[in-house]
Point group: C2
Chain length 498, copies 2
């Protein structure tokens, strides 16, 4: 399929439905070689009779019928007060799966839905959550209590990962650079298995904040840490670079990109002089680098932790398309295509999520898993609508995997949110925007213009609007209304009974 | 206070708290002469013992404490599954109050909160709703089933007012120009009292769509209707202009602007040759034109309907400030000031809402009331951040009035939403936007930059993102998750038991 232009909106209606069905191939990647099946629960007994399914009814927000007639466009199928009431539970959960769409809120979700499902359609993952709300995302100015209205991904990840507000650039340290315990560390210390999955470099802010504490998000590896985070450097008695701390924190499952940083060399400590890759091997990590090797994994635990390094940098995105440009909406509409530089050897977010759940679910106590679709943000920065939309669709497909697990395991809380709002806006096709625009032909077979207009020539900017939250499962009711980003830490902690 | 520059962010913390307290004056308008109190329920018996307060706990989303320490920025005060569960009800309501912030969603609410309450603060109206969600707002291309991703206020108001999707410009007619029954007409025919309150012209899309059916939103008065909506013109056997239909539909209470259209003359029918103002008088409308006369009203019903005409056009907005301009954020930050061209003779949205509720609540059967803060949209179009924020604060204050009523009358459903998303975005203060920007000094005593970048020189554009919904009271649980705009009609209908 490399370089072949496929008519995605038309094909996608079939493809995206097909993606729900494990027996059918995923259309935008090559067929994946199926390894010899390995039982995922070889030694554990089957769980007892499932708990009552009180996770809350998932929504079916499909349009009722002909959208041009009275009631035809409605999404609510029935009065649902009693159903929702019956579904609410505050009992402890075994599993929490937190999905982060980096830079993903109402505008990004709507644009992706319009393109891939049609305006009257819906995402079978993103759009079916019974409880939804919004949270504030402001950060602090370093060393002060002063407000920064536009957070970066580091301060925002620190906020939900630790419950503490911090400054832009902080990785799970507070405004005074003091390390804060993360929800992954807390869950791990309480005996839960843990996982950390992303489509970006593992050292990028969102995954890093779960497992590392450094004063600057730049400090991926030892060399940069000595320069930018000297107090964190191993040779200065610190806990080391983000990558070194990721290894030490040792989630049971860690999947993402960022392999390049593992080529750097430790400057002190037990592994002084070794590459971080060699350190991982010495620490007994099972390192996998493609779909095939990922699928051979049969266990992930503290003796045999799993490290998936699927790219040197960020994983290549799913879709390509025209970049937005000044007056871009005044030309013809375009279609998104499969990213030709993406190989089916690289796992999709859905595949990584499915594998992570399979590996973690054998742990008796339960697990905490964070899954990030990180390049929704990066393609928004780059004014690349197709890139952004494709990664949002990838997020949706990963969420569908988790929902399928939660339906079978009602002691599961799933939370879906973004870390901050972003630039992209859907504007009228005849708008005369001062920014960069692109016009796409959607599944509805009509044109949709996306506007990127927070930066003239540089990277498009984050924005400060409160961000959508959504949840399913016990404790999900806490997610509606207005929260702050820091509330997530405490909601998850409480859900675990910690 | 005219022309005086007041430091609103500093003063507002006091003012807005004070606004909750009826005994204190409203700071940004002159003290209002208090008319001789008139009992509002002179002949009706007091209601029996109130129903159980099962409207759902209102949230207290204030930050817990010092936002720079662990947990200090959280808004959730306790695990609320059981409280929310206990509060959910699907019993019929007597009263529905629907608040529309025109062009108001996450970005507008966050910007207003940051300015007036601080980022860690909250609005005592807008932000306290226990159930929140989002709805899709797409409209149709006239005469087709084809999608328009960016609605105007006419198609969107038609959607929730009638449950039918239509084209931009449509006032409660479907894509083929066929009139659709509105929720106000339905409630009225079922014996409920009705009210329609706005800060814009009464003929503007949002209030018009409740009570009129015309093929173009422009058709305010007979002269324009003959030109732009000939099939609707009285002299062609139609139902007349928006203004004539508003009079005929005869809500018990109609408050807003748009007096100018009442000077036009009917071209046919019973009132042929008379101004629409004279027609109103002939129809026994009690016409009031300022706060003082509004406050003398003691009843509103089908024999003595109430028509408040508080401006020839839109009501003047509450606040003024610098317009956004290219590189506006590169200069000094500004404060918003009271709009010098606003007189305290003009009622605030809060005052109109309070009076409308007072007049409607005496009706035994109950009432339907729509309240719109319409100039949030208009000032967003004009890249006027202070105007936009001031009208958002006005919406919040009006909502607080309704919440106070609902707490005393648990058989009340309140819904708060916007009709479409809009241009304004909070961006970093050092951003190099291609659009128009303005930098404000907020209550937090820090700078906040607002970006307007969907139109180079013309009116800023609506945007297509799904829009926040929020609700309180019986049936409120239906508002969470993903809805379409048309769902509102059916949720309200069902809540009334119709």
């Amino acid at each position: 399929m490399k370089n072949s232009k496929i008519i995605l909106p038309v094909v996608l209606s079939t493809v995206l439905v097909a993606c729900n069905d494990e027996s059918k191939p995923v259309a935008v990647t090559k067929p994946i070689p199926t390894p010899t099946p390995v039982p995922t629960q070889p030694t554990k007994p089957n769980p007892p009779t499932p708990l009552p399914t009180d996770n809350g009814e998932l929504l079916d927000p499909s349009s009722r019928g002909d959208i041009s007639v009275n009631g035809g466009a409605t999404r609510l199928k029935k009065e649902r007060s009693e159903a929702l009431k019956a579904s609410i539970s505050n009992r402890n959960v075994k599993h929490v799966i937190l999905f982060i769409g980096d830079g993903t809120s109402e505008s990004e979700i709507t644009a992706a839905r319009n393109y891939a499902e049609g305006a009257a359609g819906y995402f079978k993952g993103l759009d079916v959550f019974p409880f939804t709300g919004a949270y504030s995302t402001y950060s602090l100015i370093k060393g002060t209590k002063s407000i920064d209205y536009v957070t970066d991904s580091a301060a925002s990840a620190t906020a939900w990962a630790t419950g503490t507000k911090s400054y832009n650039g902080a990785i799970s340290v507070d405004r005074d650079a003091k390390p804060q315990q993360t929800i992954l560390e807390l869950a791990k210390s309480a005996g839960f298995a843990t996982g950390n999955v992303t489509t970006t470099e593992l050292q990028d802010a969102t995954p890093a904040a779960l497992a590392a504490h450094v004063t600057s998000r730049k400090c991926y590896a030892p060399t940069q840490t000595s320069k930018s985070c000297p107090k964190n450097a191993l040779e200065k008695g610190g806990a080391g670079s983000i990558t070194e701390q990721l290894l030490q924190t040792k989630a049971d499952v860690t999947f993402g990109g960022g392999g390049a940083s593992f080529k750097d060399v430790a400057k002190a400590g037990t592994y002084s002089g070794k590459t971080l890759f060699d350190q991982a091997i010495a620490m007994n990590y099972q390192v996998v680098t493609d779909v095939k090797s990922m699928n051979t994994l049969t266990e992930a635990n503290q003796n045999k932790p799993v490290l998936g390094l699927f790219a040197d940098g960020n994983l290549p995105v799913m879709w390509s398309g025209p970049k937005a440009q000044v007056d871009g909406n005044k030309g013809a509409a375009s279609l998104c295509t499969a990213n030709p530089s993406r190989s089916s050897n690289t796992p999709t977010l859905k595949e990584m999520t499915a594998k992570a759940i399979d590996l973690l679910k054998t742990h008796q106590k339960g697990f905490f898993l964070q899954v990030e679709s990180g390049s929704i943000d990066k393609r928004n920065h780059a004014a690349d609508a197709c890139g952004q939309i494709g990664e949002t669709v990838a997020l949706d497909e990963a969420i569908q995997e988790a929902l399928a697990f939660a339906k079978q395991n009602p002691d599961t809380l799933i939370i879906v949110t973004g870390d901050h709002a972003h630039t992209s806006q859907i504007i009228p096709n005849d708008a005369d925007s001062p920014g960069k625009t692109v016009k796409l032909l959607t599944k509805d077979q009509v044109e949709m213009t996306i506007n990127y207009a927070t930066s003239k020539d540089g990277s498009q900017e984050h924005t400060g609007a409160q961000v959508r939250t959504a949840a399913y499962g016990p404790h999900a009711a806490n997610i509606s209304g207005l929260l702050d980003q820091t509330d997530l830490f405490f909601i998850i902690k409480k859900a675990f009974g910690l």
